[in-house]
Symmetry: C2
Subunit: 329 residues, 2 copies
DNA sequence: TTGAAAGCGCTACCAA
DNA sequence: TTGGTAGCGCTTTCAA
């Protein structure tokens, strides 16, 4: 078995209590003793058993992270941000991928809740009611979704859409399509809302296509209806859909942006790598992860203060090759 | 605080020991008692504290997973496979992303080792020596790398390259470039070795370009040297590099596959989504994750038997649009 | 400044 | 078939 605090105590010639103190509150221990203990610990390669510690302190130093689909290029950035911030704060991360299944999500929350101090839920699929229930039991922060006053980090979807529309109308576009993501998705609703508002105030016509699955094939499928709608520009719910659009437009011999402009949302890595490169609304994904952990840590320290904190992170339009002036401008 | 086994015992009117048995070995408990306990547990919403259990059983029911970079599209598939298999076996997964930093990897292994029953290391960056050291202390399986006889799941890199070369020579190619990945990468060495052997036995000339970073920009940078080498086909260390190649070739107005054929390795999702779609050697990533967990579970049960088990998973060439006959065939 | 002892939640053993 | 007891590794009183 692994080396325990007793082994260190024996080698250092002190009691286990002293070892514990030497390692956690050195100022309560005579310097010389402290040194001896530290040396023994180092020699033996001791590192404390966090589970045992958690049992008594009631603090596991673990956080749980639940994501719907790691394969979705939106998530790795967020997860990396969470990892990085958690590591800085000396927390370990339990990760679970639910495969977009709300039932699995619920079960996973139950299982994880016991072994972590708090949970970060990425774009949770579960119902508002369930979410509220869990939030009452376990410190929890949501990413990319808001439910009531529950702690959450979100992106400025509405403002992102405003930026996209401003860009398009400045170029001269007057008729724009929106390829909608899933009706049940919080961010789709936000983006659609922002887009409608921006189009209305800019005096541009808006045609909604879909909803489609937020995947490459969804975009492929949406391209023909978009073309049929007689628009000069299209904004997709997200980049993956936009990439599908681009692919199908290319296959049909439609030039982008000469004949139609395309805008995505998220700024996933591939967006900058395709031809033409994709104009898109960029989300600070790593910051989102970090902010999520920060909020969770705050929540653990001072639930009253952070219990209803919601932060919205700014978004920024990345203008690239897929947008230009409309055909007959 | 959470509800403990004592609470359940009190409500059910039995001793904690009985609660424990009723829940874990019901056949040692009278049916009626068992029912009473279960009901009490359900009423109170009891679920056992796995950390406390682990303390005594010496089994945490957690596995640790360390990956170098979740942003690399190679990993999500593997991680999903691991998650899925772990969940089936009722294990939870600690995930750590090391950001390609070997030092972080070492530290993370140390930290995680205490709270898990075993570790899965994805394409580990650390030295052979360190790896051997850790393997002596903690059950551990490597994915995508072999070191001596340590337990590992790998892909048939050599055979994949044979398939790629066979495909190209069948089309008539006689002069092929290889864009190498990092010298330090185990899979790059394997792939290069397989490629050299296959080219030699097929009588094709091989030109090596690079090494380049295994990223899109690496591929972009490699395109010009490849063109200068006067080859009719190029095989990249991985898909991400191949995508960069494709992009730069497009920018220079070189038609693929009319003027040059391109093959990648991995079959990441984007490979099928670009124009022309990328011919590539497909790796069963989810299977790799599942196999890794299976091997780890075997290792935990019977270290002697599985201590040196290494499995190689088959690879399959996915022929797509980026390969064709050479220009003057 | 240090050590002894109690106990976190749980399981395993021995008696009954 | 059940309960009591000990103890996993650690931290935290309370005394000394």
């Amino acid at each position: 078995m692994a080396v325990t605090i007793k082994d260190v105590a024996r080698v250092a010639g002190v009691s286990p209590s002293t070892v514990c103190r030497a390692l956690s509150t050195p100022n309560l221990v005579r310097d010389e003793t402290c040194d001896r203990v530290r040396r023994a610990a180092a020699d033996l390669g001791y590192s404390p058993n966090r589970a045992a510690r958690g049992l008594i302190t009631g603090r596991t130093a673990n956080i749980g992270l639940i994501v719907p689909d790691l394969g979705n290029p939106f998530f790795p950035g967020v997860v990396k941000g969470i990892q990085a911030r958690a590591r800085e704060a000396d927390y370990a991360v339990f990760l679970a991928d639910t495969d977009e299944d709300p039932a699995a999500e619920t079960q996973l929350v139950r299982t994880l809740a016991k072994q972590v101090d708090g949970l970060v839920l990425c774009s949770p699929r579960m119902s508002e009611q369930e979410l509220r229930g869990f939030a009452a039991e376990t410190p929890l922060v949501m990413l990319n979704r808001r439910v009531g006053r529950l702690p959450a980090i979100t992106f400025a979807n509405v403002d992102g859409m405003r930026q996209a529309v401003t860009h398009l109308t400045a170029l001269g576009h007057r008729r724009i399509a929106y390829v909608a993501g899933p009706r049940t998705s919080w961010s789709n609703r936000e983006r659609a809302r922002g887009l409608r508002a921006a189009a209305a105030s800019a005096g541009a016509a808006l045609v909604e296509v879909g909803p489609v699955l937020p995947q490459f094939d969804g975009g492929v499928a949406a391209a023909d209806p978009v073309l049929a709608a007689g628009v000069t520009a299209v904004i997709a719910y997200n980049d993956v859909i936009a990439l599908g659009l681009l692919s199908r437009l290319h296959a049909r011999g439609i030039a982008v942006p000469a004949e139609i402009s395309v805008i995505g949302f998220d700024d996933i890595p591939m967006a900058a790598m395709v031809h033409p490169s994709l104009t898109t609304v960029g989300l600070p994904m790593e910051s989102c992860g970090r902010a999520g952990v920060d909020l969770l840590l705050g929540l653990l320290q001072d639930p009253a203060r952070y219990g209803t904190t919601r932060r919205e992170l700014g978004t920024h339009l990345m203008v690239r090759g897929s947008t230009g002036a409309p055909p007959n401008a």
